[in-house]
Symmetry: C2
Subunit: 435 residues, 2 copies
Amino acid sequence: MPLWRLGIFASLALNLAALALLRHQYMVSYPNHPGVVSPGQQHRACAPQPGTSGAAARAPSTGKPAVTSDSVINLDHGDPTMFEAFWRETGDAAELVIPGWQTMSYFSDVSNVCWFMVPDFDQQVRRLHRTVGNAAVDGYHVLVGTGSTQLLMAALYALSPADAVEPTSVVSTAPYYSWYPAVTDFLRSGLFCWAGDANSFVGDAYIELVCSPNSPDGAIRDAVLGSSGAGKAVHDLAYYWPQYTPITRRADHDIMLFTMSKSTGHAGTRIGWALVKDREVARRMTKFVELNTVSVSKDSQLRAAKVLRAVSDGYDYDGGASASRHRLFDFGRRKMVERWRMLREAAAASGIFSLPEETSGLCNFANETAANNHAFAWLRCDREDVENCAGFLRGHKILTRSGDQFGADPRYVRVSMLDRDDAYDIFIGRLASLK
Amino acid sequence: MPLWRLGIFASLALNLAALALLRHQYMVSYPNHPGVVSPGQQHRACAPQPGTSGAAARAPSTGKPAVTSDSVINLDHGDPTMFEAFWRETGDAAELVIPGWQTMSYFSDVSNVCWFMVPDFDQQVRRLHRTVGNAAVDGYHVLVGTGSTQLLMAALYALSPADAVEPTSVVSTAPYYSWYPAVTDFLRSGLFCWAGDANSFVGDAYIELVCSPNSPDGAIRDAVLGSSGAGKAVHDLAYYWPQYTPITRRADHDIMLFTMSKSTGHAGTRIGWALVKDREVARRMTKFVELNTVSVSKDSQLRAAKVLRAVSDGYDYDGGASASRHRLFDFGRRKMVERWRMLREAAAASGIFSLPEETSGLCNFANETAANNHAFAWLRCDREDVENCAGFLRGHKILTRSGDQFGADPRYVRVSMLDRDDAYDIFIGRLASLK
């Protein structure tokens, strides 16, 4: 064989070997690519459910069957799966790799009040708030919790005097988040107890929970009682992000709560954070988390840090290549604008539903006027013969949360606006057809 | 150009392109390979602490400074960093990769009582118990919690009648785990309250907490009151694993609690599980977790499933290559045998300390006689002038937990046996020198 023929043969053989290697690496790196199912894949994602194997490809993270036009559409919880489409586009920017030997210790930073908080999580929280401008971080302690629900309980624990004879009253303006009374009272604590609507509260010692934008109705809220003497306020700012509402000011309350669930859509990660001014309050809140769950998953903290970093990176202008950046709040706002438009059209087509008036404001983050496009619709059924809107919708296979769970009229329901496109589209179609 | 020259040229160009692609993929897939330091790498591990950069290389997961011969040695918590050495050896067997879009939903398996539990975690828990033979799983519900502490509270909630006028009494035989009274009483619940030593309890309605092997003293325990009528038992089997104690029987109690912290050493992952016979109890325990933290980190559940899988794989004999397997319990037992030998020698050299008698039994798992080598030493200072052993040891820069926190004599202390080798060695050296 002449040398040049041997050269071509060898070169072709190398090419074939390289292609085979590349294909193998592609399958390992991207196991969820359609048609490529590796044994390891099931251990990364939730394994498919018995009897729902057809659904697993579409809903790998929920164990819920994929929706069809006949499905029950569950919009009771604010399950933020709408954001999956965004994170699928970001490649490995938010991918987390944890070797087997990492995150084993309870401790993360023994010099911090919140000794179990991973330092990078603290830094990424502060960086994101500085980027968005929705909350002050200088002079604040950052605390991490197993979702913001745990931090809400931590705040109740920290603000209730341990030596009080009577439990401290916990109040919020109606309609209030249905979880507040449930979380406050389920252990029948002697430290705090639910006392209902803040507007009808009489007394000096209280903890006022202020959710703004408010769940369920999206209203922008201020404290009605505020902090004074023995009265304290806790601000739940879960929805104070540019995809939902214009960022009109840098919030600087004593205790502010945030959560991954509604900011980035990572509900299953169970990470929330608190910004706390007072060191003693921060210490007592940390003590609550210790007694409740010892500390907070370090795996999820690392993941949250990675995700928050990817969000900030999307807005970290360095003068180049900005067009190809993935920008969470832009994605979120586009989706919410479109969904609210669809919802208002469907309500108009139906004729039996009403929605809160659209409001807007100048968003300092986007530097333009933006509407409130809340994560939930506070939908009222106006038909005279329907006294229970949730029951009426359930009859049409739409699950929502009844107004009476929010201290309001059961003619109202709260509807999640954050489900996947397929489920949302079916909901809209059904709603428009109801007369 | 002749065709064959073009062929060689094209083939070489393809080879070069393939090599470049392979190199890129290698760096993305294996960013922790020595010499390849990507900016993302530091965000995966805990970032080094300010002022402890020299320590970061040795203690990347704790934020604690590396120990020296002058250090304060903290053996108060049972921080299980001893196991890091094992997991460093296992390569990628327990490495977790989570793409940015995964684990976003709250839900994992809507058909399960514990709807937020990742199915693979459930399967790996059952598989490991079958492998080890330490607990029955058939006919049991598996529940996942944010550590076993959350599941302990969940059990108290589930077993306390919601309509009782008086809170249910929670008891445990002294010396009992110091966390039991703290966790039971910190919210001053109207549902349950701490009532002290089970041996002195009088009454019908109670919840007895049975820790076996017991923290602090390693004793093998049975319930002294047991389940009868309005009395219920919860078995905390955190230490019922072959590295600590012979597996003498397959436990089959109504409620059994386990935790990653002490079984595999992954404390920072905050994953515990319960095996529960009764469906209604399982439902109420799940409800507690919902109200407390909505669900449990899915990232950590996936990680725990991966880790438990690696442990079982180590003992899954397929007839070949077994010598190269990584076997957690073999590692753990070797370490514990060695550490207990060192501790008994140090106590003898000192002359002022005593330890529980060594006991042993036939381990069904190892199929040989094995000693109890508990995760904690229950150390008594016999010097007449020392009434507070924890204070005495603190004076010698050894932090332990005082006996009075366990309802016992402060001449005793509980000492963690699970810290890293360097810290343990310094502790042993100091202890032997005390007269």
